[in-house]
């Protein structure tokens, strides 16, 4: 007989299931930790992360400086807090660009399947996919100059086809669903159906993919900052902290350790969260678990 739709009981026991999903909880906690640190950094950091104290440079962790100080004597903990802000902001906006351009394109292409525009959108996606992403990002920043904004654009561009493809694929299968046919019998146009019926049913998928893209964006931002193309000093950024720490790796390993861990844990948290969300939205898995 027919399979129940993916989210038949989506709203009902989501919370309960979520609370019993250890990976989801771990991911949520890690993510909230870093988001919290980022938000807190607007109000308070232990030290001013841009204040140099050359005399106090390269201190190992102490009770005064929890994570020690860097080569300019800046407080690493404070820098990490503000760095979280940069990473998260860059990632959010970059993924936001991907979603806000990719999803409409994908929806449009699906609604007009086989049309010229569909073809153009899909080929355009292929084209972006075919480019080596880091290289193109470097090129983009070479054109516009380095900086957080341009890192966002560079990362954002590569998010567009991801979301366009995802939403087109999922939308195509939704278009054959009977509730969409019913809406068409009710006289609704393609655009309206895309917004009223297709989009809401893509939400879960988009949230899951969004989380994953978010973690990839954090990594990409770190990589760009590492090669010097991310947020510019004095704004701290995890990738640049790592790049700066490189030459101190045998002298003061903690300089590289903490930003590295920050990246790893954030990405880990987001991935766990994404996996958790996917499990929770997939009734087949949810049933097997409960």
């Amino acid at each position: 007989m027919s399979a129940p739709p993916a989210d038949r009981n989506a709203e009902g026991n989501f919370l309960g299931a979520a609370l019993r999903h250890p990976a989801f909880i771990a991911g949520l906690v890690l993510t909230l930790l870093f988001v919290g640190a980022a938000l807190l950094s607007y109000l308070w950091t232990p030290y001013d992360p841009t204040r140099l104290d050359i005399a106090a440079k390269l201190q190992t962790p102490t009770s005064g400086h929890w994570f020690g100080t860097d080569h300019f004597g800046r407080d690493i903990f404070s820098m990490l807090m503000v760095g979280a802000r940069v990473s998260i902001a860059v990632a959010i906006i970059a993924v936001g660009i991907g979603v806000s351009l990719g999803v409409p394109l994908g929806l449009y292409a699906a609604a007009h399947r086989g049309s010229l525009l569909d073809e153009v959108v899909m080929r355009g996606n292929d084209l972006i996919f075919a480019f080596p992403s880091l290289l193109l990002a470097i090129l983009i920043t070479a054109v516009f100059g380095p900086g957080a904004v341009n890192a966002i654009i560079a990362i954002g561009i590569f998010n567009i086809p991801v979301f366009a493809r995802l939403s087109r694929g999922a939308a195509l299968s939704l278009w054959t669903r009977e509730f969409v046919l019913a809406a068409r019998v009710a006289g609704k146009g393609r655009a309206r159906i895309s917004v009223e019926h297709i989009l809401p049913n893509l939400m879960n998928l988009l949230i899951v993919q969004g989380t994953i893209q978010f973690s990839l964006a954090v990594l990409a931002e770190a990589a760009l900052a590492y090669v010097g193309l991310g947020a510019q000093p004095p704004l701290p950024s995890w990738g640049r902290m790592l790049a700066d720490a490189q030459t101190f790796i045998s002298l003061a390993p903690h300089l590289a350790l903490f930003p590295g861990l920050a990246i790893v844990l954030t990405v880990l948290g987001l991935n766990l969260l994404g996996d958790g969300l996917r499990d929770l939205h997939d009734p087949r898995l949810r049933r097997a678990r409960t």
Binding site: L52, P233, P234, T247, I249, L251
Partner: protein, 469 residues
């Protein structure tokens, strides 16, 4: 003892023709090793005879007659004579020349091969620096037959001949058996290009390179010092590192503001923070190891109070300036420190890291900047302050007059005085904030002798290098 050596360098030369490119890395590989000029620099910056054994200078200082050395051959076996000299110099100063330092030849009116061993060069005006100019890597002598292929297959007269170039990795030189001078003690020299400072550290530590004369990460020198396997060589370069200011752009056209910036800066903190203590503070655009150097650092001593006062007097508050930083670590790190120091006196410096190409376009050519940090590594380059269209846009008439007089002067004492005057003038006008003389910090296997400690020019002269057991 070992007769081959691997020398680490940060940048790979784009090509190997010192007369056709500006990159310092070219000279670092080929200067004095593969190519020689009429004169050359020694380790301490003196100009001595090279392919010219001796020379006579006419009374009016306009005619130089060079007597060339005998028995010199190029690496391809062809012999060296006056025609080669004439060809090389004419080529460098020709209309369509792509010599990066064409200015070196600007005063030459004619070159004449008197006979096989004699060359007469006539100048259009006396030039106290002419012999000095001829010692540059851009003035080396090449043979007409090979001139077009020097970029990839350099053929010179030096003690080492070019062997192989593994692009992206290394250039190897081999001892040239027919060398006219004293034979080098090494049979093989390999220059290995390791741009990443961490990789450089690891490579030295792991023994992949034997010497790294211009080590990019001063923070690691302590570790090398502590390790008996290595010696650390600390010397100086010709690089005056300055915080350049755009003198014509408001508000930096106000001397008070420029002075305020100079006083806001704590040189020692920059040297400690960016270079881990290596480097000599300077107060003007002149190398401290030069006998004519005048120490003017006191004139712009670190004094935030004073800086704030000057800003008040100039009537500015909430000043925001752009600070464009080229790639070298001294600039990037120094820039962060300077930004923090300027913040202390209420100036916001907005940092933009730029690549060299961008710096050249944006800062140097378009003069679209407020502040930037650069090390001017050409020797004796205070003359740039007299250039009309130079990027920091000083071109002060009085200063130009001083320099004009200097050019005409050959008497050492007078020259010395004029140089002092020039140094004071730019310091008084606070044209730029003068930071430090760029150090040359190298590391080498403790058994290697004969490396240059200083860098009077960009070179890794391997002629006198040898291993002890």
């Amino acid at each position: 003892a070992q007769t081959d050596i691997t020398v680490g360098m940060q940048l790979e030369p784009p090509n190997l023709d010192p007369t056709g490119g500006a990159a310092a890395a070219i000279d670092e590989v080929v200067y004095a090793n593969v190519f020689e000029g009429l004169t050359r620099f020694t380790a301490d910056g003196e100009v001595v005879p090279a392919l010219a054994e001796s020379w006579d200078i006419s009374e009016d200082g306009l005619t130089y007659t060079f007597h060339l050395r005998d028995g010199v051959t190029f690496h391809d076996g062809s012999s060296f004579d006056a025609e080669d000299v004439k060809f090389s110099i004419d080529r460098a100063r020709a209309e369509d020349s792509t010599n990066a330092q064409k200015a070196l030849f600007a005063d030459i009116q004619s070159v004449e091969a008197v006979d096989a061993q004699t060359v007469k060069i006539t100048l259009s005006q006396p030039n106290g620096l002419f012999l000095f100019n001829m010692a540059w890597g851009d003035a080396v002598i090449v043979a007409p037959e090979t001139a077009d292929t020097l970029a990839t297959d350099p053929v010179g007269t030096g003690p080492f001949a070019f062997a192989t170039w593994t692009k992206g990795d290394s250039v190897a030189l081999e001892k040239y058996a027919e060398y006219w001078g004293e034979a080098p003690r090494l049979d093989k020299v390999t220059f290995k290009f390791i741009p990443d400072p961490t990789a450089a550290f690891a490579a030295v530590m792991a023994g992949d390179v034997d010497a790294y004369p211009n080590f990019p990460a001063p923070e690691n020198l302590e570790q090398f010092k502590a390790d008996p396997r290595f010696t650390v060589i600390v010397g100086s370069t010709e690089g005056e590192t300055i915080l350049a200011m755009n003198n014509k752009k408001a508000p930096l056209d106000d001397i008070k503001i420029r002075q305020a910036i100079s006083h806001a800066i704590d040189r020692q903190a920059i040297i400690d923070g960016a270079l881990f203590g290596y480097g000599t503070p300077i107060g003007t655009h002149f190398a401290p190891h030069n006998p004519d150097y005048v120490d003017l650092t006191g004139q712009s001593a670190h004094d935030p109070e004073m800086a704030r006062k000057l800003l008040d007097e100039a009537g500015v508050s909430d000043l925001t300036l752009s600070l464009k930083l080229p790639p070298p670590a001294y600039a990037r790190r120094g820039g962060e420190i300077i930004a923090a120091q300027l913040k202390e006196v209420g100036i916001t410096a907005e940092i933009t890291n730029v690549e060299w190409a961008q710096w050249l376009e944006d800062v140097f050519k378009a003069k679209n900047f407020d502040l930037t940090i650069v090390s001017h590594t050409e020797p004796m380059d205070i003359g740039i302050y007299a250039r009309d269209d130079y990027y920091f846009q000083y071109a002060d008439a009085d200063f130009k007059a001083i320099l004009e007089e200097l050019n005409k002067t050959t008497d050492p004492a007078n020259r010395s005085e004029l140089l002092g005057k020039a140094q004071r003038k730019i310091a008084d006008d606070a044209v730029n904030a003068y930071l430090f003389q760029l150090p040359r910090t190298g590391v080498a296997n403790a058994k290697i002798m004969g490396l240059w400690p200083n860098a009077p020019t960009q070179a890794n002269d391997m002629t006198a290098v040898y291993w002890v057991d």
